[in-house]
Amino acid sequence: MVVATLVSVCVIAAMACFLLITAVKARRLKNLPLHSRLELYPVPKEGGGRAKYGGSYFEEVEWWAKPRSIDKVSETREILMEMLFIRKLFQNQRSLWWASWGFHLGIYVMFAWTALLVVHAFWAPAALSWLATAVGVLGFVTATLGALLLLLRRAFDKTLRKYTTPQEYFNIVFILSVLLSGIYCWSAIASPFAVANGVLHFSGQDLPWQVVIHVALLCAMLVYIPLSKMSHYIGKFFSFHKVLWENDPNLPGSHVDQRMHAATSRRPQTSWSAVHVNPPKTTEE
């Protein structure tokens, strides 16, 4: 009874931690100072058909005097292709893509499975049970196969092995342990529907020790992921949207202009030591 209640609390707390730490990291990245422009073309938001070949507003004479053409549809399509299909990896390193995409697809499907389990705990038609079971099987299989392939590739590819730290092996092994213990528990020990139902309703039903271990690993993983570099799901948004695709010019009255003026109140406290560098006098954005 006590263990079961604790599991309920831990699951909910771990999910909250995952969301909270993710939000804090995203906020910290967002609040970093306006940076120098580092765009790389193609920039998919460039309108007028320019995104297709990598063109920009710089192709227009007196570009600053003309309204910018922004293609939000192209930008959204491009980021969805990256998020859902990891297109750059597909285009540039197909052999690794199969494992990586399988793994990430599995994770996405597992999120969907988790959502279905939550819904099922409160509304449980037979069709939903079938759907959730199918989604769960698909998620576990693809994520586990992907993770295994990624681990093997890192272990046996002589280039990747040279650059992979023990912590990075640990990350994959950690996720694999959660996946494999989950496969074991939900296929041989307990029904995920019953456990989800008990956890979400704080029913206090006894849980098999195997399930407790799996859920403990899962909770630890939910807290660890946003703290580790596996939180690249946060970084990827910023590296594309706020660095590579961020080409907004500093024109009078623009949001860039406003941010630059706002930054003048924050003088840098650190300065460079080389003789030719003057101590900073104003904020350089």
């Binding site: 063109g55 002589k158 570099k229 690249h232 590296s239 630059m260």
Partner: protein, 538 residues
């Protein structure tokens, strides 16, 4: 795969060895240069010079201002300054790069997707030290060890495994100058991370904290520019003399009389060239004058401090230098009261003034900057310039300067021009934003200390030379056919000139290079004599 470095790992950067990873293999060039053994070899560093500087990375020296310490105390101070500098790239002293820096340092998945996109890595047949993540991972591991609690507590488990000493730091400094900053690797990264930017951050630590940078781009580059007005050392008086000479020479050679407008207050356009054009390729500023005069553009040159040289070497290695130069250039434009700055054919000057400097000054303190390329395309398309394409009836291909194309998105206007004026225009393989660097980017074109020009000619420019040969296919080996590479960038032209000389491509196969405006003037209907004579380079 290069032979000597199959097992080399980032932590080996501190391994005691005379040369950590010599270049023992090169990618083959197409015919007629397919016999790698037949091309001139690398010049070895003189032992005394190698000992004085750091030639222990790959046998080349770029950082000619970096000298081996003479005492333990000097080495300790060197290490302290480097670690201090590294800490400062994560502090508010580096506000303008914090976000992209954190992203690349924190999120690299070591998937190695970037490697194959790097022309230097490919040209060296995969020399491990040139792998884009090799350099970044060394910095990452040093940061872990010296700047993070996890590194101090968990050490090698989190990758904090690199010992910093003079040799490892000096090698890393050299390694930052084995990257052209073309950022082609960043284009392929599934996480959108930027190893080119990391190379530049390392350069910044060396320059801004330790005062160490290659002489041609710092003490004889940006410092000279801030002192005299131009990185060439060209003073105002010398500029005026040079322009007068170009006017006379142009009239003598072409029969066309030109007069450079100087310091014309309130002109519509301030045209800013790379001042190297005045000295090395005077036909280029003369061609601009012919085109702008014929089209009736209201334009001027500046003779004011920093107003007549658009280069800004700071963008390659030092934010402070970049900012001082950029602000000086804006000041010169404001003083003349021009409506806009048009940047001539210089790639890094394009990026420096239009992109990098965009957020160095408040909007009201700037003058709008645009590239000459769309301006020229507009003059052609609006009918203000008339061409006879038959004058350019020889094979022409186009080199896309990274700064103008991949990093600014100016792709089509130059193609619109070339398609109209060059009947035999053809693209290189992987054109446009996917194109390869000329091999001279980020200062390499200017760096000739010791044997560094061998690295440029044989390694960093190898992919571009391959593309050029392939673009002309069967015509390449026929010396009776003039072939021309259009390279609308001074540094790219300088690099291509060096490669053509090194491989004797002009002398043997009649292959030439040119800017865009020279080709335009050559095809100008009103010109009575050819503008391009395609004489062998002397």
């Amino acid at each position: 795969m290069s032979v000597s470095d199959k097992t080399l790992m980032p932590k080996d950067i501190s391994r005691p060895k005379a040369v950590l990873s010599p270049i023992d293999s090169l990618a083959p060039l197409p015919a007629p240069y397919h016999d790698v053994g037949a091309e001139p070899g690398f010049r070895a560093m003189k032992p005394a010079c190698a000992e004085e500087h750091c030639a222990s990375l790959d046998g080349f020296v770029a950082l000619d201002g970096l000298r081996r310490p003479q005492s333990k105390k000097e080495e300790d101070e060197f290490v302290r300054a480097f670690v201090s500098g590294v800490s400062k790239i994560f502090a508010d002293s580096n506000n303008n790069f914090l976000q992209p820096l954190h992203l690349t340092m924190d999120y690299c998945a070591k998937c190695n997707t970037c490697s194959e996109s790097c022309h230097i890595f490919a040209s060296s047949n995969g020399n491990e030290v040139y792998r884009p993540i090799f350099r970044s991972d060394i910095l990452r591991r040093i940061c872990k060890k010296h700047l993070t609690a996890s590194g101090r507590l968990l050490g090698g488990f989190v990758g904090a495994d690199i010992d910093v000493n003079w040799e490892s730091i000096a090698r890393l400094g050299e390694l930052a100058y084995r990257c052209n900053l073309c950022r082609r690797c960043a284009q392929t990264c599934p996480l959108g991370l930027d190893n080119g930017m990391i190379a530049r951050e390392i350069r910044k630590v060396f320059s801004q904290e330790m005062g160490i940078a290659p002489t041609p781009i710092h003490s004889k580059g940006s410092m000279i520019q801030l002192k005299t007005g131009s990185s060439t050392g060209l003073s105002k008086g010398a500029l005026l003399d040079t322009l007068e000479f170009i006017e006379e020479d142009t009239e003598e050679k072409t029969g066309r009389k030109i007069k450079f407008p100087i310091d014309k207050k309130g002109a519509d356009v301030l045209l800013v060239h790379n001042a190297g054009e005045f000295l090395s390729w005077p036909d280029n500023p003369a061609a601009f004058a012919i085109l702008f005069d014929e089209a009736g553009v209201d334009w001027t040159l500046s003779s004011d401090m920093l107003g007549y040289d658009g280069v800004n070497y700071g963008v390659w290695y030092d934010d402070a230098q970049a900012r001082k130069i950029a602000l000086g250039q804006f000041a010169a434009a404001r003083k003349l009261g021009v409506r806009r700055i048009v940047v001539g054919e210089c790639g890094h000057a394009h990026k420096a003034s239009a992109v990098s400097a965009d957020r160095m000054a408040f909007a009201e303190d700037k003058v709008p900057v645009e590239s000459c390329i769309p301006v020229l395309a507009d003059l052609m398309q609006s009918g203000r310039l008339k061409f006879d394409p038959s004058k350019n009836d020889f094979p022409v291909t186009l080199h896309d300067p990274c700064n103008i194309v991949r990093q600014m998105g100016i792709v089509e206007p130059q193609r619109t021009i070339l398609r109209a004026i060059c009947p035999q225009f053809r693209e290189m393989a992987t054109p446009g934003v996917d194109n390869y660097c000329c091999g001279g980017g980020s200062g390499f074109a200017l760096m000739n200390s010791y044997n560094f020009s061998d690295f440029r000619n044989k390694v960093s420019a190898r992919m571009k030379f391959t593309q050029i040969i392939n673009a002309f296919a069967d015509e390449f080996e026929n010396p009776d056919i003039i072939k021309c590479v259009c390279a609308p960038c001074s540094n790219c032209k300088g690099t291509i000139r060096g490669v053509f000389e090194f491989f004797e491509a002009t002398a043997q196969y009649n292959v030439h290079y040119s800017g865009l405006v020279e080709l335009m003037v050559n095809a100008l209907a009103s010109m009575s004599r050819p503008y391009l004579t395609f004489e062998p380079e002397l």
